[in-house]
């Protein structure tokens, strides 16, 4: 395992292209958590995220010979994931596009009861639920940036490279996204 960690992504890619099937398996194990996390947070649905994760790695495998070493493998993988997510979102646009009014009516982040406040775990679970709903409700281009920044811990220039956009645009999207998210969660967080 320690030996596997020492091998770089580029070396594993070379080995895969040389016909060593297990090399790609190591790449999958190395990146599956991040890719699944990104897909799950962008899509908000575990089964779909799992499908996207599978499709991402299969697509990466099929197109591995086209991968140019000028970008990081992870950036390339993230880009494939986001493209796959966008494809899924376009397919289910009607379902996925939840308006704020709709959310406030159905999602109804109710003030937490005193019993729930006493139980941190439940409170945390409730908060996660509201957070997921609020994230799903903001435009996908902002959601992607927030997730990549907050959960994947990517640098601004890395996100810019993945999305092929200027760094300033990424920062603006992050700021706007955070503002919208705060607005959607302020009554929940205020009561909690």
């Amino acid at each position: 395992m320690a030996e596997q960690r020492q091998i770089t992504d580029d070396q594993l890619i070379e080995r895969t292209l040389a016909g060593e099937g297990d090399a790609f398996g190591i790449l999958v194990r190395r990146w599956e958590r991040q890719i699944f996390g990104l897909a799950l947070r962008v899509l908000g649905h575990e089964e779909t995220a799992r499908d996207v994760c599978q499709e991402t790695f299969l697509s990466a495998f099929r197109n591995l010979s086209k991968f140019r070493g000028d970008a990081q493998f992870s950036s390339w993988l993230y880009r494939i994931t986001l493209n796959q997510c966008n494809t899924h979102l376009r397919r289910t646009e009607a379902k996925a596009n939840v308006s704020l009014d709709e959310q406030l009516e159905s999602g109804a982040p109710e003030p937490a009861s005193s019993a729930e406040c006493a139980d941190d775990a439940i409170n945390r679970e409730q908060m996660t639920k509201h957070l997921r709903r609020a994230l799903a409700a903001i435009p996908v281009e902002m959601r992607q940036v927030i997730i990549m920044k907050e959960y994947e811990g990517l640098k601004f220039h890395e996100i810019a490279e993945i999305l092929d956009l200027p760094v300033s645009t990424i920062k603006t999207r992050l700021y706007t996204g955070l503002t919208q998210l705060r607005r959607r969660l302020e009554h929940v967080r205020g009561s909690a």
């Binding site: 040389a18 016909g19 060593e20 099937g21 790609f24 398996g25 999958v28 599956e32 958590r33 699944f36 996390g37 799950l40 947070r41 575990e46 799992r50 994760c53 599978q54 790695f57 299969l58 495998f61 099929r62 945390r124 908060m127 996660t128 957070l131 997921r132 927030i146 920044k149 907050e150 959960y151 640098k155 601004f156 300033s168 920062k171 603006t172 992050l174 700021y175 706007t176 955070l178 503002t179 919208q180 998210l181 705060r182 969660l185 967080r189």
Partner: protein
């Protein structure tokens, strides 16, 4: 983008980019100092920084507790399998395979390599039967000669087939005529037997119909013989 503009206008401060850069710790030390100086004077930015920091804490509640097991089984191409096989095969096996491949190739081309008295070669499709040695020495046979040999073999085979066919036909004819004679004999014997039976039936029927009394007839015939004798 219109949202961005609205936010920019509503805030009354254009330090959003600096704010998020500082918030996520990517500002240079100089930029950090400048922004820290700025938020001492700008209440809007100071408030947003607090709220965003709090929001980030909230976002950390969404942890990835479980990761579903993902199995990616890329379909291996023939080339990949071949390469993998080549990698794991020992050198002696590779050499053996190479020699075998050369032999097969030589056999396909009907090539024979001779070094002094040692001859190495292989033949597929019975290649040696056509190229029989002449007077104990290997001779190359031209295409015309091969064609001639083939034609000769074909005509011999045809001749042989014809003779066999004639013999079979003659034997068949003989069998047929013998069977025919036997059948004629049997039919004529049957006919004779039938005719005799028929005549016997007719005679019996005639006797029964005319109520002939053979004893009287014979006695009549006897008395008439006596009269004739007397008259004589």
């Amino acid at each position: 983008m219109s949202n961005d503009m609205n936010n920019r206008n509503n805030r009354g401060c254009d330090k959003q980019e600096e704010l998020v850069t500082y918030l996520y710790g990517e500002a240079t030390p100089e930029a950090s100092r400048q922004f820290e100086t700025h938020i001492r004077e700008c209440l809007t930015c100071a408030r947003e920084l607090r709220e965003f920091s709090s929001l980030r804490e909230t976002m950390q509640t969404w942890e990835m507790d479980t990761l579903p097991h993902i199995v990616i089984e890329p379909k291996r191409t023939f080339t990949m399998v071949f390469r993998e096989l080549f990698t794991v095969t020992p050198i002696w096996a590779k050499a053996l395979a190479g020699v075998a491949a050369l032999l097969v190739f030589a056999a396909l081309l009907n090539v024979e390599v001779s070094v002094g008295s040692v001859k190495i070669g292989a033949h597929l499709f019975g290649g040696r039967t056509a190229a029989a040695p002449v007077n104990g020495t290997e001779a190359s046979i031209s295409r015309e000669e091969i064609d001639k040999i083939i034609q000769q073999r074909v005509s011999e085979s045809e001749q042989r087939n014809k003779q066999e066919m004639f013999m079979k036909l003659a034997s068949l004819k003989e069998d047929l005529s013998r069977n025919h004679a036997d059948e004629i004999k049997e039919i004529s014997a049957n006919l004779k037997r039938d005719q005799q039976q028929q005549i016997r039936r007719i005679v019996n029927a005639t006797i029964a119909n005319n109520d002939l009394n053979f004893s009287r007839v014979f006695s009549d015939l006897g008395s008439s013989d006596k009269d004739d004798t007397k008259n004589k």
